[in-house]
Symmetry: C2
Subunit: 427 residues, 2 copies
Amino acid sequence: MTDTSLADTPKARRKVVVVGAGFAGLSVARGLAKADVDVTVLDRHNYHCFQPLLYQVATAELSPADIAWPIRHVLKYQANAKVLLANVTGVDVANKRVVADTVTVPYDELVLATGATHSYFGRDEWAAVAPGLKRIEDATVIRRKLLIAFERAELADDPAVREQLLTFAIVGAGPTGVEMAGAIVEVAKHVMPSDFRRIDPRTARVILIEAGPRVLPAFPEALSAYTQASLERMGVDVRVNTRVTNCDATGVDLEGGRLDAATIIWAAGVVASPAGEWIAAGRDRAGRVQVEKDLSVPGHPEIFVIGDTSAVSREDGSPVPGVAPAAKQMGVYVADVIASRARDAVPPPPFRYKHQGDLATIGRKSAVVKLPYMNLTGFVAWLFWSVIHVFFLIGVRHRIAVAFKWVWDFMTFQRGARLITDQKDQI
Amino acid sequence: MTDTSLADTPKARRKVVVVGAGFAGLSVARGLAKADVDVTVLDRHNYHCFQPLLYQVATAELSPADIAWPIRHVLKYQANAKVLLANVTGVDVANKRVVADTVTVPYDELVLATGATHSYFGRDEWAAVAPGLKRIEDATVIRRKLLIAFERAELADDPAVREQLLTFAIVGAGPTGVEMAGAIVEVAKHVMPSDFRRIDPRTARVILIEAGPRVLPAFPEALSAYTQASLERMGVDVRVNTRVTNCDATGVDLEGGRLDAATIIWAAGVVASPAGEWIAAGRDRAGRVQVEKDLSVPGHPEIFVIGDTSAVSREDGSPVPGVAPAAKQMGVYVADVIASRARDAVPPPPFRYKHQGDLATIGRKSAVVKLPYMNLTGFVAWLFWSVIHVFFLIGVRHRIAVAFKWVWDFMTFQRGARLITDQKDQI
């Protein structure tokens, strides 16, 4: 355990500690670049991950490094910021210190932006057989499962075993579920066929299971209908109003019966990180911290909770969604609050979320986009989606590399990252 | 266990089984494209790895997928070849069957091309603290160790601890050791400095330890001298005539004394894969199988051993080196032998290795190249090295992606794959 307070920080400047370097945390740190404060960013990973493209790592299109960037590299020119690799385990609220495995860091202002993880609604034993998709490691686990299923099917003689190996069940039809279903069916039907000799990968079944009445529940109904029709045309078996009652190593039990599937992917629910427990704050059922209008914690104006760990409402009472633009807006806002305190200025007015739209890609040449004044579907939406996502990657190098891979693989029906790594005990 | 003999293979055609899809095995399979045989390639990985660039994955320049390609994708258009993901555990020589974890495959002709791994000269306990560099997983393990050393140094308060964390010991000064030493010192001096606040990465020490009298012992003496001088100018501490007597978690014991180093990389020795044991063949001290002039095993004209698993001599009695061109030449030759048998033709004359040269890169703008009629050093050698390596990558997509990353990172002093993944229990 190390106390960094004495060694690094001149007495006079306020110490701002940001836990988590996702979209929210990084926005706070960058937003404080010109403020007269010392910023310390703690994260258990050394990189910022561009989560919206995680599904492309999981489906062998991109490499992990294409969507990740070292946090300290992002902040290298920001002299008032430092980055520490540390796994935070708690907060000593009384003494204003963040406690991590490798370090203890005192703060004047603390920003908790530790995100969310998948929720199995109390059935945590499903995690082992139905991985979710929140971190780089999740994506490589899913990639491995996906690719090994085809390899094992090629080796199998029993038709029932082959069929089970070539069945992919995706639970939850939000954007992640839709994107995974579309990408997997394309891999099976366009990328794999000529590579195999004994199986026909085009016979693979991709089943998208949604408990609610429609896919993409947060989108307008017309876009949900369009998405479901598109997926079905691509060969995805979409089952709405279908609840999963159990997951095990060989398949899922649905309300309507059993589905044998070697690969199950969980895209059904999220639960907030345990940051709310660290500070013993009031939380909703998903573990999100109920915050004040300036995103601080009731009774602790020096602690802010933002991003997917925080429960914030829009003006109409509906919740602010767990998307990257919302996380960034909260980060920018809290940086503004802290900066105004540092110079004894009037604090900004209460946080207001500005919804910019919703995007989901369905597959090759197809996406749905909801903008404030218009909806896009099909190829135009897909182009819009692609440009937006390349634009928001960090750094020109990543933008060029990802754009090149997309264009190349679009034209050749390839996937460039079909690696089964670290496969011990997997086959 | 599955027997694929009945299901797939028409009776008449000879069954050729190739174990290992490195340079040697893949050359056999491709060389048999037009032969009237059935080829089955078995590998425990689903990809062919371009080993000469592994050190660039280990030093965070390239992603694993940049230097790997699915074996079945490489052979997708070769109708007489199939690929099975299988971990071979032995050969039933009497019944002509290869035994693997997932499958048993009968053969008429068997080619063993299972490569080599690092040798710790009987001190296998060093493997845990001094990883070698033969597989993709080795490269990501070393990358993680390398990057975590800097992260932990940034967190450390004790100057002695910082110094130990920023000391990198590389054991063995063949091409891999030289390339690792050059790449690590460049990462420390050019890539890292502005990213850190508390440590100065330029103070990192990189020590290249060689038991023999000079670096790159297989190269002409002038190139060894040039390489050592270049490395020393870059800041590498080169210690020739220095033997390692012990490795542990905190450093290495040298004949001259103790060296505290958090990161130890093993590039000192190789030992052949256990393929020689599977067939109970005569082997040299490094486990390499002694083969006939047609690369078949004495007493077993139907079994060939090629690549790093085989001990082959040149005309002057010196051993054929363990490099990619040698493996490829053996593969092409054995394909020729098998094809001529299949059409009852005269077998080709005994295998003759044609040495094309030696290459090693030292760092940014510097390499050494020995060609039959000339030697190159410095920038020209470095350009030659770069072009050759891009050219030999499989597929235009990989060539463009790697060339782009090299040009970009050359100009910007970046490294594009600085990811610490799967770090459980590592910090």
